[in-house]
Amino acid sequence: MTDWSAMLLRRIGSLRPTPVDGDALVDRLRLTVVSAAYALLGAPALALGILTLLCIPLGLVAAGFVLALGVVPATAALTAVHRRVSGALLGEQVTASYADTTGTNVVTRPVRWLTDKARWRDVGFLWFSATGGFVMSVLPVGLLTAPITHLGGAVFDGGFWWWMLVLLDGPLLLVWWLVTPGLVRGRAVAERNILGHSRVQRLERRVAEVAASRTETLDHSAAEVRRIERDLHDGAQARIAAVGMNVGLAEKLLESDPAAAAELLREARETTVSALEDLRSVVRGIHPPALADRGLAGGIEALALPIPLPVTVAVDLPRGIPEPVESAAYFAVAECLANTVKHSGASRAWVVGSYDDGVLHLEVGDDGRGGADAHVDDQRGGLAGIARRLAAFDGTMEVASPPGGPTIVTLEVPCRTSQ
């Protein structure tokens, strides 16, 4: 049974009339068998369709409810078969999404069904299967079986008309060859569109994901802007203001107390140096110079240099990775390495990077004690923050960090290079 269904329910091959070979013939024969099954299933569909229509006037008396309790699940069972068959022919999953009926009883359940769009689409399908769908499926079967009937008639009956019909068989078989894959595919697509809510669901899920990642990205950039403002306010700006005060006071004391003035000026000079350091570190936090000059590979090498343990960097990346992705990946690696230094107690670490098939892969690992958790924001630093940042690019982060180590963080970001 499984072998049979596996053989019958493969994806539809080419729709083109050529090549004319054994494989193409086998494919058309199996599609004709499938069509026959589709056509036969038109009978229960017609029966269920009529019974469903009966449910409505009978709903005024209790009989409609009783009938519905049988008809609706039977319809669901029939459409489930069609979902499976058509899904397999198209090579995709066609899933049902009926309204939830848990907690309903025999009276409220039919009422819930009445308001469920998915159930009404099932009813629509019953009539499609019994009418247009039936015609679509009967055609390939008829086109193939007619010549056999004619030949049989000619051989066993031998009448003139039988032989005339046999002459028609060439064109009939040609039409069969040409239209069968298209008809079966057309029917499968129609079934998917009536029965499958998967595309809508997929799109809805995608929209929800995008909305969530956009919110997180906005939160993240707002937090970044606040951090930069705070860094400037508490760092460079404050120091420069202090320099102003010192110099101002020194100016005032120049004559009355030259020694104090000189001391104030010396302090002011030192404060200028630290103000510049502050500015540099703010700039590094916004757009690191090594990343700007050398791209992601150079940026990661520069990151690894000041790390107080041996870091092996094996990053082979093409130029032309989009700048925002480079930047997000850079800060992700920076955060991972910082976590390694802070929490892991590792003796060595490594960063491996590659780009294939439109996906940037980065792996940051260490031989430390493990136990990192992407969901605990405060303990293992900003791993959750990295995930949020990458999600903006549909990127993912996976953390494998069993107790006892090693910790391996895998980052993947789909992106297109500009070259």
């Binding site: 705070r230 306010h233 508490d234 700006q237 404050a238 120091r239 203001a241 202090a242 102003g244 005060m245 010192n246 110099v247 101002g248 006071l249 100016e251 005032k252 004391l253 404060t271």
Partner: protein, 225 residues
């Protein structure tokens, strides 16, 4: 006013969370003959220090711990509510006309709002502290410029001559006629003529003293902005 010996022996509280600046401010005030009775780095300590009756003036940073937003400003406004007319000079790394308005609304006179940059002009800063301590109003030229340019869209300011606009700006900063005269290298009498012309052109009620005059001008600018 700046050269009057009013300020000698003034008892000041300094509130600033950044150690470098706190030390700098304290040094400058002490070098000018004032006594810094407390130098604090957070809002609760500031509130405690201001509760002491023998403080003459407070120099307060807007942004301080714990929340690093406007605790300094809030503490200053609260102190002035508890002790009407208590002199407070607020320092900040940004001027925000909104905060200036809140300060001005906290009671008449004895307030100042300056950029920290101005402290580098040590004499000017010390003069500002003294002016606030003696009940005056000192606003940073940036705040005034913001208000004047905001009001500039309206018709009435266009009736002023360029010179009168200069005088208006200096008045709004809290300067006396004598100070304005010195600044513009004209006689005090000439300044008096300009101020009268301004008051007439803007339909402002006559204001006898400098402080009321500042408030009238600011209120007018604020209303226009």
């Amino acid at each position: 006013m700046p050269d009057e010996p009013v300020g000698a022996g003034l008892r000041a509280v300094v509130a600033e969370d950044q150690a470098l600046l706190r030390v700098g401010l304290t040094r400058i005030l002490e070098a000018s003959g004032m006594v810094v009775v407390a130098a604090v780095d957070n809002a609760p300590s500031l509130t405690r220090a201001l509760a002491s009756p023998d403080v003459d003036v407070a120099v307060v940073d807007v942004r301080m711990p714990p929340s690093h937003t406007t605790e300094g400003l809030v503490a200053a406004v609260a102190a002035r509510r508890a002790r009407p007319g208590f002199p407070v000079l607020v320092l900040s790394q940004y001027v925000e006309p909104l905060y200036a308005r809140e300060l001005l609304a906290s009671g008449e006179g004895a307030v100042g709002y300056l950029l920290k940059d101005r402290v580098a002009d040590v004499d000017g800063f010390v003069a500002a502290v003294r002016q606030v301590a003696s009940g005056g109003t000192v606003l940073d030229p940036e705040v005034v410029a913001g208000l004047v340019s905001g009001a500039g869209r309206e018709q009435p300011l266009e009736r002023l001559t360029p010179r009168e606009r200069e005088v208006l700006t200096l008045m709004a900063e809290g300067r006396s006629n004598a100070a304005i005269a010195a600044r513009l290298f004209v006689s005090e009498k000439a300044v008096g003529k300009h101020t009268n012309a301004i008051f007439t052109k803007l339909d402002l009620p006559p204001a006898p003293d400098d402080n009321r005059r500042v408030l009238a001008v600011l209120a007018w600018l604020d209303g226009q902005g």
